[in-house]
């Protein structure tokens, strides 16, 4: 999912217009982003 698509979906979820499936998809993507941030942070520290 591109950042733009993610933003749009996030707005939909925030407005309460997203279906449960869309909510789930958004949460999964968001979790991946946060996990990626943690990994990047850990890699930066180990460098």
């Amino acid at each position: 999912m591109t950042p733009d698509e993610m933003k749009k979906l996030g707005e939909k979820v925030a407005k309460g217009e997203a279906s449960p499936e869309e909510k789930l998809l958004f949460l999964k993507e968001l979790n991946q982003v946060v996990e990626g941030m943690r990994t990047d942070l850990a890699n930066t520290r180990s460098q």
């Binding site: 968001l30 979790n31 946060v34 942070l41 930066t44």
Partner: protein, 147 residues
């Protein structure tokens, strides 16, 4: 029969909805856990200011590599241009005194040689100036990164 099928279908749809809701709840819990972990990671680094500092350093590190690459390219270009300009200058030194400036063809040749040499000298100076500029950037980045 039809009523039974309808009821069963509704139950299945309900089950699917319930399972999606359940998955959403699980993802929310996971997200909460991840965000807490991220907060902890940031605190372990030394807070948001330190994180920003690390990110700046990281950016500087990647810029330094690109500056190093540009620096090397300008150096190579500078060397090539200086060498070709030197060759032109040598040709000029040999050919220009022999040119009869009253003959149009000779005059054109003389002007072309002079113009090529001047362009070469200017390009060499520009390349060397750029090389020095990039070298300064790399040196500054090295100093900051060594802190």
């Amino acid at each position: 029969m039809n009523e039974n099928f309808k009821k069963e279908n509704q139950k299945e749809v309900g089950d699917i909805e319930n399972s999606t809701e359940k998955e959403v709840e699980i993802e929310i819990l996971k997200l909460e856990e991840n965000l807490n972990g991220l907060r902890q990671d940031i605190e372990d680094i030394g807070g948001e200011d330190k994180l920003q500092e690390e990110l700046d350093k990281n950016e500087l590190l990647s810029t330094r590599w690109s500056d190093r690459y540009k620096r090397t390219m300008y150096l190579i270009r500078g060397i090539i241009l200086t060498l070709s300009t030197g060759t032109f200058a040598a040709v000029d030194a040999y050919a220009l005194p022999k040119i009869n400036w009253d003959i149009p063809d000779d005059k054109t040749l003389g002007l072309c040689l002079t113009a090529a040499t001047v362009v070469g000298v200017l390009s060499s100076i520009a390349s060397i100036k750029e090389f020095i500029k990039q070298q300064k950037r790399v040196t500054t980045a090295n100093k900051i990164l060594s802190y």
